[in-house]
Symmetry: C2
DNA sequence: CCGTATATGTCGACCGCCGCAACAAAGTAC
DNA sequence: GTACTTTGTTGCGGCGGTCGACATATACGG
């Protein structure tokens, strides 16, 4: 129960940043004295530092702010995207200590090669960490279906992976002694947008990521929708068009065959390798420049985006839809179309409470979400990390 | 925190029935002493009675069972269906003390008339309650979109209702002094199937109710998926066929236009008033008897059922789908078709962990779910009800 | 410039709740 | 009948939190 209160406190500080002690008492409903003890505990563990109290302008004694200490706990975040790899070190409070991304266009890479390159990417970031900043966990975002229990990538069509024990591979290759969690890219995008992006404070939200495939991260009642094994949120494979295209999943007329990158290019009469971002960018540029075929393709995808979104809105009754990836770039061009489809097709009651916005974190949303995932275990139980005094004792012993 | 432990205990007893004290200690992880105190507390409030310990066959002192006491707390459950009304009194542990249902075919009734008839239905049930059995709350299941916050029926197309403050109406008309909660029929069906039906122990499940419309109650990670305002789960309005029929919701090609009762009759070339159950029953009988047109219609609906279910399975990754209403009767006729569509269209990973079964509670699932909804508040905080000693004092004072 | 009002941190006392250990009770196995 | 096992009961101790009293730090008004 002490654990629980520490967790609540640290979670809030991590998510909301510096907060005065009086604010913490008001927010948690706990007593001033208790907050004092808890903050002291967190400080002893190196998670927070107390600042100087500065006058707020109001009457009364000013309350000193409590700052999350980025070096108190660091997450290693990794991302395996279709055409790029990324790594970042993220400290408590969401402070990004270092970040690197490399393109890896076109080809398909084996899990082993991928993990090798992730290790190369991560090494300098880890070396550059400030002294005494402990890496407490790692998180990996990956485009594919992930069994959350053991961090196994069940299937990732765009990578050509089947049943890859990614968590174990990363842990071994990077010689990590900390837990490694793996999550679906869209799920983790939703997570970061929820904590510090376009969905802050919104406990019912859908993050929709359009890439080669279409995936969603869904947060209902503040909690991530995982399902029995963690495969939930695969809205890209909602059947929307019985007379449509064959989908890579084996079905016909899945939503992603109408709104994915492939659909966009196909509609414009252009062809490209799957995962060829430049072709998509060119098409969007052409559409913005007024090219008729490009505009028609964009418009058609926008309509289908609205159609599918209507279904998503009906099913989840979210307060906000956050668009990431391709959809983030597409949305400004088709916002009115999407809204019109929603108006016409979604149930009024649900339509009335939802808005559609663009990702605030951009391409890094999944990467940052991986960091959040990694830190989550610690945030749930801050007592996992012993007080600094004991840490020093342990260090001296060695 | 005492509240919390009492809640955990009572919830378990309510859901799982009689449990020995030793079982409770093992299940909660609490100490024997603590369990003793807590059980004593619950007994003092009239929620449980302790039975005689009977030899189990094993060595050691036998543990006495703790029984939930149905008369300890009673919920009044009500249901407003398209063509019937129902009421029940349900005691702790899910014991149904009384139950009545009346048909109300065809026509549309005003909220006032409906509530009047609910009152007539409920009165004898309440009169027949054992002495000293307190009604602690009421729950209402209704076919329509319900704003859970205030129990307002936002829209119920099949009843012709818009913005009906049903909770308030019921409370006033039935002169209830206890809270009245309102929920969507499918949501409550899911709830009861989850607690004591075909979904016991399954924390990721979808209850799919086919009537005039198609609705779903969705439970993810053990919690009901409500969404921002409680309108979630309206899978009937997933767009599945852009060239399909116009739907009452204003959209085109919603799933329920392909699998609802209307679709079934239409496909068989029969017409009927919406909500005419006999026409549907006749059709199903004909199909079972071998009538070609009927069988073709049933088969087509079965295919569409599978198509939509594939989407639902992809999105929610449930461990079980429970079919209620029309679908419960339909399923035996089309199980193979549904399974085949799922095999072909759902993602393998999700498909592998899901099964499709028929409702165990039948037509009463939503009604019983309303009782669960009503009892939920008490189960969350058993201290709301004072110990019997004080209750008697209060009674003596009057 | 200084008192007053307001708000906050700190310290010690109190209390509720749970775990623990010893004991009593109620069964089985031989 | 005796040994053993499992369980309920009871009293004690500790952890964690609230509460009240006091010290401290600022804004406001004269």
């Amino acid at each position: 129960m002490r654990r629980h209160n520490l967790s609540v406190l640290l979670r809030h500080l991590h998510a909301a940043g510096p907060t005065t002690r009086s604010d913490l008492t008001a927010r948690t409903g706990l007593n001033r004295s208790t907050i004092g003890v808890l903050v002291g505990d967190l400080a002893a563990r190196g998670f927070v530092v107390e600042g100087k109290a500065t006058a707020t302008g109001g009457p009364g004694r000013p309350s000193p702010p409590v700052h999350p200490r980025p070096e108190g706990a660091v997450a290693l975040a990794l991302e395996v995207d279709v055409d790029s790899l990324a790594a970042a070190t993220v400290g408590l409070g969401g402070h990004v200590l270092g970040r690197r991304r490399v393109d890896r266009p076109g080809g398909r890479f084996s899990p082993e090669d991928t993990v090798d390159e992730l290790a190369r990417l991560a090494r300098p970031l880890l070396r550059r960490l400030p002294a005494g900043a402990p890496v407490v966990a790692a998180g990996v975002a990956v485009v594919g279906l992930v069994r959350v229990g053991d961090g196994c990538v069940r299937v990732a069509p765009n990578l050509g992976w089947v049943d890859v024990p990614l968590a174990a591979l990363v842990r071994r290759r990077l010689r990590l002694r900390v837990p490694v969690a793996v999550g679906n890219e869209a799920d983790l995008g939703a997570r970061s947008e929820h904590v510090r992006g376009a969905g802050v404070g919104i406990d019912d939200l859908v993050y929709l990521s359009g890439e080669v495939g279409v995936g969603a991260g869904i947060i209902v009642g503040g909690r991530h929708l995982g399902g029995a094994e963690g495969y939930g949120g695969e809205v890209g494979h909602l059947p929307v068009n019985p007379t449509g295209q064959a989908c890579g999943c084996g079905s016909v007329g899945c939503w992603e065959t109408e709104v994915g990158e492939g659909a966009l290019l196909r509609r414009a009469g252009r062809s490209a390798e799957p995962g060829d971002r430049t072709a998509v960018r060119t098409l969007l540029d052409d559409a913005r420049a007024g090219d008729d075929a490009a505009r028609a393709a964009v418009e058609a995808v926008g309509r289908w985006l609205g159609v599918g979104l209507a279904g998503v809105v009906n099913v989840f009754n979210p307060r906000r839809v956050v668009l990431g990836g391709l959809f983030a770039e597409l949305h400004p061009l088709v916002a009115r179309t999407v809204d019109a489809e929603l108006d016409g097709r979604a149930l009024d009651a649900s339509r009335a409470v939802v808005d559609v916005v663009v990702s605030a974190l951009g391409v890094d949303a999944p990467l940052l979400g991986a960091a959040e995932l990694a830190l989550d275990e610690l945030l749930g139980d801050p007592t996992r990390m012993p007080p600094l005094a004991e840490q020093n004792k342990d260090a001296a012993r060695e």
